[in-house]
C-alpha cells in the first residue's frame, strides 16, 4: 500500500505538472504585452475589439439556439423511445455516437456539397440559411453529449408511471412533456446544455468552412496576426469552459430531485 501511494503521487505530480504548465504559461504570456511589466493590456485590447464583441455575441446566440433546438429534438425523442419504442434504443445510441466517429470536417464538407446554391435545398444561398445550417451542424456535434445526459436523466425517473399518472389526471401530450417530463429531467438538460455551450462557443471548423463570423474563426485570425492577444483569448476561453463545467457540477447537486413536485 505504501508503495502504491508513492507511485500514485508520482503519476499525480506528473499529471498536474503537464496540465498546469500550459495554463500558467498562457496566463503569464498574456500579461507580458507591455514590455518589462505584467499588465492586463492584452485583455483590454481583446475585450474592446469590436470584432471580439461581434463574434462572441454571434457564437453565444448560436450556442443558445443550438441548445434550444437540441433539447426540443432530443428530449421528446428519448422520452418517446423509452416509453413506446424500447427496441429503437440501440439505433438511437448508434446514431448519436456517429458524430464522435465521423470527423466534423467531413460532415461540413457534405453540407457544403449537399446544400449549395444549386441544390434542392439551397441553405447556403442566404446568410440566414447558412446560420440555420451551422446551427444544425452544432446540434449534430452536441448529439452524443446531449442524448447521453438526457437519457441518464430519464433513466432516473419512472417515465411510464409518470406518464400514466399524468394521463389519468387528464393531461395531454404537450402538458405531459412540458409540465411533467421536462421539469423532471431539467438538471440533465442543463448539464447537456452547458456542455453544448462549451463546445459551440469556440468551435472553428464548421464556422470557418461555412464562412460565418463566429468566435472560433476570429480566434484563429487573431492567433495568426497578433502575439499576446491570443494568450489572453485562450485564458478567457479556458475560463468559459471551466465555468460551464462548474455549472454542471453545481446543477447536478440538485440532480435526483424527488418526483413530488408541486406542478
Amino acid at each position: 500500500m505504501k508503495q502504491n501511494r508513492f507511485w500514485s503521487f508520482l503519476f499525480l505530480a506528473i499529471g498536474v505538472l503537464y496540465f498546469l504548465l500550459p495554463l500558467i504559461g498562457t496566463f503569464e504570456f498574456s500579461l507580458k504585452m507591455r514590455r518589462g511589466v505584467y499588465s492586463l493590456d492584452a485583455y483590454e485590447a481583446v475585450i474592446f475589439d469590436p470584432r471580439f464583441q461581434a463574434t462572441f455575441g454571434y457564437s453565444v446566440m448560436m450556442a443558445l439556439a443550438t441548445i434550444v433546438v437540441g433539447v426540443l429534438l432530443v428530449v421528446p425523442t428519448a422520452y418517446w423511445v423509452r416509453l413506446k419504442l424500447p427496441s429503437w434504443r440501440p439505433v438511437l445510441e448508434f446514431v448519436t455516437l456517429l458524430p464522435l466517429v465521423i470527423p466534423p470536417i467531413v460532415i461540413v464538407f457534405g453540407y457544403i456539397r449537399l446544400y449549395n446554391t444549386s441544390s434542392w435545398l439551397p441553405l447556403t444561398g442566404t446568410a440566414m440559411g447558412t446560420n440555420i445550417l451551422l446551427m444544425f451542424g452544432y446540434v449534430v456535434l452536441s448529439l452524443p453529449y446531449m442524448y447521453r445526459a438526457i437519457d441518464t436523466g430519464l433513466r432516473a425517473i419512472d417515465v411510464g408511471t409518470l406518464t400514466e399518472a399524468a394521463q389519468s389526471l387528464g393531461a395531454g401530450w404537450i402538458t405531459i412533456m412540458w409540465r411533467v417530463i421536462l421539469p423532471n429531467v431539467f438538471v440533465a438538460v442543463l448539464s447537456g446544455a452547458f456542455l453544448t455551450f462549451a463546445i459551440v462557443i469556440g468551435e472553428f471548423v464548421l464556422a470557418a468552412l461555412l464562412n460565418r463570423p463566429a468566435f472560433g474563426p476570429y480566434l484563429q485570425l487573431i492567433g495568426a496576426n497578433r502575439a499576446y492577444e491570443p494568450a489572453a483569448l485562450a485564458v478567457i476561453a479556458f475560463a468559459i469552459t471551466w465555468g460551464c463545467m462548474a455549472l454542471i457540477q453545481v446543477v447536478s447537486r440538485f440532480a435526483p430531485r424527488p418526483p413530488a413536485q408541486p406542478h
Binding site: 496540465f19 498562457t26 401530450w173
Partner: protein, 297 residues
C-alpha cells in the same frame, strides 16, 4: 414537440389494435439525423466514386495514392495513434492513482472536474496555450533555456511537428481517458483482487489474468474513440501550424477552402479516406470487443 402530439393524435383507433403508429414519434429525429448526418456523409462517399460528369470512377481514390497525400495520411495516423496510445496509458495511470492508488479522497473530485474541463478545452485556444508555453518564446522554453541552459529547440523539438502536436493533443486525450476509465476502475470489485490474492496470485498476475482482461473492452473502445478524436481534429492543428504541417484534416480544410487544387472530387476522396480510417479503427474495436467479451451477456 408538436410532432409528438401528432403521433398521439394518430394513435390507432380501438377497432384496429394491432396497427401501431408509435414510430411516428421518432420521425423528427430520424429525419434530422438523415438530413444532417447520414446524407452528408453518404454524399461524400458516393462523390468519391464519381467524376465531375457524375459517372462512376475509381480515379479519385487512385489519386490519393500520391506521395504527398500518402505521407499526410501516414503522419495523421501516427499522431492519432501516438496521442491515443499515450493518452490511454497516462490517463489510465492517473485514474488508477485516483481510484486504487491510496490518494487522499479529496483529490478525486477536483481532478475529475478538471478532466471535464480539459477534455473540452480543445481547438484554437488550446493551440494558443501550447504556443505560449512550448513555443520559441514560451514559458517552459524560456525557463529551460535561462535556468537550466537547455535549449529544447536546439535538440530538435518543435511545437509545429509530430512531437509537438502529439504533446498538445494529449491535453484533451488524457482527461478524456480519465473520465471514461475512472467509472470502469470503480466497477472492479475488491473481492476479485482478494480472491486472486488468496488463491496465490501476485499483484502482477492479478492484473494480467483478471483485471486487464475485464477492463480490455473499455480500454479498446476508449482507444478507438481517442484515435478518431485526434484524427478528425482540425482547429488545434490549424491554429498551431497553419498549413505548414501536412496532416489530412488540414489538407482537406485547404481543399474545401479552395486554397490548393481545384478538383473537388479529390476532396471527396480525401474525406472518404478519413471515414475509411476511422471506420477501420472502429471496426477493429468492435471485432476485438466481440472476441474478448464472450463472458458478457
Amino acid at each position: 414537440m408538436n410532432d409528438v402530439t401528432a403521433a398521439a393524435a394518430a394513435a390507432p383507433p380501438a377497432y384496429r389494435p394491432k396497427l401501431s403508429f408509435a414510430w411516428v414519434g421518432v420521425v423528427p429525429f430520424v429525419a434530422f439525423a438523415f438530413l444532417f448526418l447520414i446524407l452528408p456523409t453518404l454524399q461524400i462517399v458516393t462523390g468519391a466514386f464519381r467524376n465531375p460528369a457524375g459517372e462512376f470512377t475509381l480515379a479519385n481514390v487512385a489519386n490519393l495514392f500520391q506521395p504527398s497525400i500518402l505521407s499526410a495520411y501516414w503522419i495523421s495516423i501516427r499522431i492519432s495513434v501516438a496521442s491515443a496510445f499515450l493518452g490511454c496509458v497516462v490517463g489510465f495511470l492517473l485514474a488508477w492513482a485516483i481510484v486504487l492508488g491510496g490518494l487522499p479522497s479529496w483529490v478525486r473530485s477536483p481532478l475529475l472536474t478538471f478532466s471535464g474541463v480539459a477534455s473540452n478545452f480543445a481547438g484554437v485556444p488550446l493551440a494558443f496555450a501550447f504556443l505560449s508555453t512550448f513555443g520559441r518564446l514560451g514559458l517552459v522554453t524560456l525557463i529551460l533555456r535561462d535556468w537550466f541552459g537547455i535549449n529544447i529547440y536546439a535538440y530538435g523539438f518543435n511545437i509545429l511537428s509530430f512531437g509537438g502536436l502529439t504533446l498538445t493533443y494529449l491535453f484533451f486525450q488524457i482527461p478524456l481517458m480519465v473520465l471514461i476509465v475512472t467509472p470502469a476502475l470503480d466497477g472492479m470489485r475488491r473481492e476479485w483482487r482478494e480472491a486472486a490474492s488468496i488463491l496465490g496470485a501476485t499483484g502482477f498476475q492479478y492484473w494480467r489474468m483478471v483485471a486487464l482482461p475485464i477492463l480490455w473492452p473499455t480500454l479498446l473502445g476508449t482507444f478507438a474513440l481517442l484515435f478518431a478524436n485526434a484524427f478528425g481534429a482540425v482547429a488545434t492543428a490549424y491554429a498551431l501550424t497553419g498549413s505548414s504541417l501536412s496532416i489530412v484534416p488540414i489538407l482537406l480544410f485547404a481543399q474545401i477552402r479552395g486554397d490548393v487544387l481545384q478538383d473537388p472530387h479529390l476532396g471527396y476522396a480525401l474525406a472518404f479516406g478519413m471515414i475509411v480510417v476511422t471506420g477501420i479503427a472502429n471496426f477493429v474495436y468492435i471485432w476485438l470487443r466481440t472476441r474478448s467479451e464472450r463472458w458478457i451477456k
